[in-house]
Symmetry: C2
Subunit: 318 residues, 2 copies
């Protein structure tokens, strides 16, 4: 009912009479009034004027599923949204849902994470209402070894959406960091549940610093707010992110990784640089030459030897 | 209390007096009598003789955790056993438990599976009390690409344990079939939960036909009973399987895959044969030359070209 009232108020500019609303929804005027009060408590700005009716003039700064879905216009990404005011980690919830058979495109959204995490179990600081923290379930027909491309795909999609929405030019540090002005704006984590030769499902997670004020940012990280000097509407950024992911994912399914890799190169801050890549106990140093079709980084060592690294921590040397 | 009574009865050959039992356990004679009745209902053969006491002369044909643990003598495999009279699939239960943080060595056992499965979602017929169906949680510090070796490791361990227990000589058809007399005795399924460069946990599952009578076996499959012409005590086979898995796993963790691969070669029915390997939409035909250190099958095609296959369906051509 809540979502239906909001949809009716959004569909019409100006006031909607209480009579029209209650007859459309087949509820009493008194029941309608009660629902309106609840929406106001959630943070919706709804004006009530006698003889004119109700008008929606503002939505709260929340990633409510009804708000994220409204005008999303995707085919399957976000067709089912699981929303949490707070959660340990959207990755954990997504893995559980994936095992229970959640379909492709299921989205797990949280306003805050107590144990948000990045690669190799590292912490991702996820303060309430400040960022975008989501995990997305996909069921691509790929081998486990092809999964790293999905990290690149998500990074490309997020960069494209940020550019489209804010005009800023984020860059990607291989494999999973989103940088803005050389500081960390966000990260991507890809986890999979698989047989040795078949992916059951993939969870792509992202954590992005959006409206964190400068003084609440840890060293080396940044937020969109720090650059734009104003709050960003998180829904107006999340929607294009989801649309871009869907577009790029459909391209990937149809044509393989080539287009994704090409788009990735355009946003890369790593290629062409001298890098040191720490990978488990070893490290490789040389020039970051290119990305292979499976997402691996090709490093040309000083000996001239080319080495491929599938994942690791990159230090840009100079 | 149930397990304590059984332990006391097992520790002593001959009769244990009711008085000794009830005082050891600090329960009344009447309470003891009630527990004994319950054990009898579970299928334990307990004789009660006035003035002598109780004697355990037979255990039911069940994989009760207390029976599996008794004398198991492993360091961590099976240190925690989750037992189900029936379940959809031990793989699903194990994946859930793995996500919830179940430790290395946690074992999921079932007397029957409604949806037992093999590679690529194929069905594994799991009739009640006839087979051994288990899934085991491991947390190896390996890359996802190294996981196929664990399938080989489980296959080797199962073959060794069957040989030790029954004197029969099972063979392994790459990658995951256990054969006896060229018919399918069992299969192994390895699933993983992983980041792109780190395994969170691995589930190794096995389904083995043990006491299936010949007429209940589907075409192309066999059971230990068919070969031995008698019922096999499933616990006396499961225990050495778990011990062998632990031994081989400790070797793998310490020294890598070389020893496992070498042991695998000894049991292989695939190497040296002409094979056709169906892998996704393609197939490769040639001589199965060897196994690579990551568990891949090396096939020498008629052109002389060597091709490595990571997983697939093998047909032995002649």
């Amino acid at each position: 009912m809540r979502d239906k009232i909001l949809a009716l108020l959004k569909d019409k500019e100006g006031y909607v009479s209480g009579e029209d609303l209650s007859s459309s929804l087949k509820i009493s005027r008194q029941a309608l009034w009660k629902h309106i009060q609840e929406l106001k408590e959630e943070g919706y700005d709804i004006e009530a004027v006698p003889h004119l009716g109700y008008q929606l003039s503002g939505a709260p700064d929340r990633l409510f599923p009804s708000e994220v879905s409204h005008g999303l216009n995707t085919k399957f990404i976000g067709n089912k949204i699981h929303y949490f005011e707070s959660i340990d980690s959207t990755m954990n919830a997504a893995a559980q849902l994936g095992l229970q058979g959640a379909g492709e495109g299921a989205l797990i959204l949280a306003e805050s994470q107590a144990k948000g995490r990045g690669r190799l179990g590292r912490t991702w600081f996820s303060p309430k209402h400040k960022g975008i923290y989501f995990s997305l379930i996909l069921r691509p027909k790929i081998l486990p070894s092809q999964a790293p491309v999905l990290t690149l795909l998500a990074a490309v999609s997020i960069c494209e959406a940020i550019k489209e929405t804010t005009g800023l030019g984020p860059e990607i540090k291989w494999p999973n960091d989103i940088l803005l002005g050389n500081k960390k704006l966000g990260g991507i984590l890809t986890e999979l549940s698989a047989e040795t030769d078949k992916v059951n499902f993939v969870v792509i997670g992202a954590g992005l610093n959006i409206n964190n004020p400068k003084k609440e940012l840890i060293s080396g990280s940044t937020s969109l707010k720090e650059h734009k000097k104003e709050n960003i509407n998180r829904i107006q950024l999340l929607q294009p992110i989801l649309r871009r992911i869907e577009d790029n994912y459909l391209i990937f399914n149809k044509k393989g990784s080539a287009t994704i890799i090409e788009r990735w190169r355009e946003h890369s801050v790593t290629l062409g640089r001298r890098v040191r890549v720490y990978c488990q106990k070893e490290h490789v140093e040389g020039e970051a030459l290119d990305i292979d079709s499976d997402g691996g980084l090709l490093v040309r060592k000083d000996s001239g030897l080319l080495q491929k690294v599938m994942s690791g921590d990159v230090v840009h040397c100079r």
